[in-house]
Amino acid sequence: GSSSSSSSPSAGGGGGSAASATGSIGLLLPENTTTRYEQFDKPYFEAKVKALAPNVEIKYANAGGSAQTQAQQATTMINSGVKVLVVDAQDSAQIKSSVEAAKAKGIKVVAYDRLAQGPVNAYVSFDNVKVGHLQGTGLLSVLGSKATPSAKIVEIDGDSADPNAADFKSGFQSAVKGHVDIAYDASGLWQPTVAAQKATAAINQLGASNIAAFYSANDGMASGIATSMKNAGLSHLPLTGQDAQLDAIQRIVAGTQSFTIYKAYKPEAEAAAELAVNMLTGAPITSIATSTKVNGSGNTVSSDLLTPVLVNTSNIKTTVVQDGLYTVAQICTPDFAAACKSAGLS
């Protein structure tokens, strides 16, 4: 009965090969204001599942930034009989009751990107503290000999209401503390306009000639900070970023941003897909989820923690271009053509 998608429990019966597995997997993603979820995570996940188990049905829902909606979507999926639930929680604590409800019905749960609370079976993500740390070490290496304890750094963090922002900040500071002087530290609210104004205010406050480098928690804010640096004639100073946005790659090519941190969506989505298919078929997951993490409700979860990559002029081609995130044509618009050439992109 491999062709009938409506046939049920028998499919789960131990060790059947993935190619003939049936049943359904639910994918719950948190929001759609950032393009990544619907543009990368969802298609990569679906493609991988299709490749592994062509007869498995995927149910998808996006919570649009609301934890309540996500709870209702989880209920709908549990009611509709999914076998595995892959959840990128909008609120990693609030999802707990949904995770428990799933477990009560014998549904396995994979926490995706954010570590959900409750009896979760597996977890796939990047390590946020590591991201911050990588930004720090990256900045130190760009500064090179200028990285002295008196070198003044302007730090623009993310929105403090976002718990990830605190991870980035602590990772970054653990890397640079003692090596440089963080002379100005404020939240840019993930807003380029706010970040730009705060950078200008910092320049006015500290004096343009006294600043050695700028830290931006992500690429969005870096666009604003780069403009303020340009207005103050400081374009040559180091500037960090994160997310490997197209505009950031272009700035890196043009030399107005030093590097960005690339958290590849593809390996993350594919790891989650493999975990889900293995759970559906009853295959072991230990080959994928090699480490463990303890979540907020005290459950120990087998985890697959991926490593982020620092992208600068030297490896654009081998990272974002190779992964199909952007084409060279997209990056090298006429305005960046010259810079591209000298950076060896063509």
Binding site: G64, A67, Q68, T75, A93, Q117
Partner: protein
Amino acid sequence: MEPPPGIDPTPGAAVAPPVDPRLLVRQEGLRGYLDEFKRKVRGGELGSLPVVIGLIVIWLIFSLKNSQYFTAANAEFIAYYMVGLGMLATGLVFVLLLGEIDLSVGSVSGLAAAIYAVLSVTHHWNAWLAVVITLLSGMVIGGLQGWIFAKIGVPAFVVTLAGFLAWQGVMLWLLGSTGTINLEPKALNALFSGNSFFLGGQIFGAYLLAIIATVGFGASLFLQQRRRKAAGVPSRPTGELIARTVLLAIPVFLVAWILNKATGVPNNLVIFLALLVICDFVLRRTTYGRKVFSVGGNIEASRRAGISVPMVRISVYAISGTFAALGGLAIAATTNAAGQAGADPNNLMMAIAAAVIGGTSLFGGRGRVWSALLGIMVIESINAGLFMLGLTLDIQYMITGGVLLAAVIVDSLSRRTQKSSGRA
């Protein structure tokens, strides 16, 4: 029941004919009803008709799209999840009747959940005490906003917009570093939780509720008729009363039957309906309700009639705040947690939409609390269908937005028609 003393201006003067010959009186029988119905539709007095039709259309469409839609389990889903937002919408109906708006309900509901969580979980207070404190906080918050509006004169729109931002801030601060707090199934939270049903879900329970509703409604109609006849003022014919009672009984027993097929009547729905009955009574049959309508109609007239406009305003905002807090507890019970996402701005939008879809005017002085129930049923029916279909978010937004827009346009157009035919 004694009439007020007053001055009797009777002596002398011929009594004018009591009825104006220009008033187009209704014919007897069915034909008269149809004529009047046509006239009302043309005049824009649509009542709940568009919503009810809309609801049926929505159910039909989703049933065609998805075989799982027209099931008892899904009815249970709708009945359960609509309550939280429905409570926010109920509070908003009071505010809309004043012709004002309360943009803070979403934030207040989030804050209330946080207050309850902090008191009962973090500080281990008695759960019922925590509930009382939470509802009081909602009342005080609403009352404070009402006070700034009524006494200082800052437009309600601005006060509650500030509240929208500020209470969210207070909530974040309360939840502090821990972020979301998971709740324990105690007190009101247990009643609101997804597996608490009236009389433990016994079949008897649902029908008991249906009987109470039908008998209560019918009895009040006949009582009123008798009193009007006794006093010699115009009253409705008996046939109409029977028809009305039957028209209520049909959906009520249908719902009871369907919910019984699933797990029974959720307790949160029972509480919600009880509150609606109380609010309806307060608005239509007490002097307080009359004051709310009159302030919504003409502030200066109310003031000159000796009504304390500030008190009405403050109390209405306090009611709205209390319902927001109650709704916040109900919403928190659906996820068993109070978190930063509690103050979801969408909740505000949906609650306003529910009230307006249900037929309460944005222009003040016209509406009923039942519109909160009708409107939220529409919204939750759409949600349930969209969740099942697994559509992308933009399409979901488009559909929900489209329904909201349609509702508001119907409200506005019917008001315009009414105005041009002299009813508003």
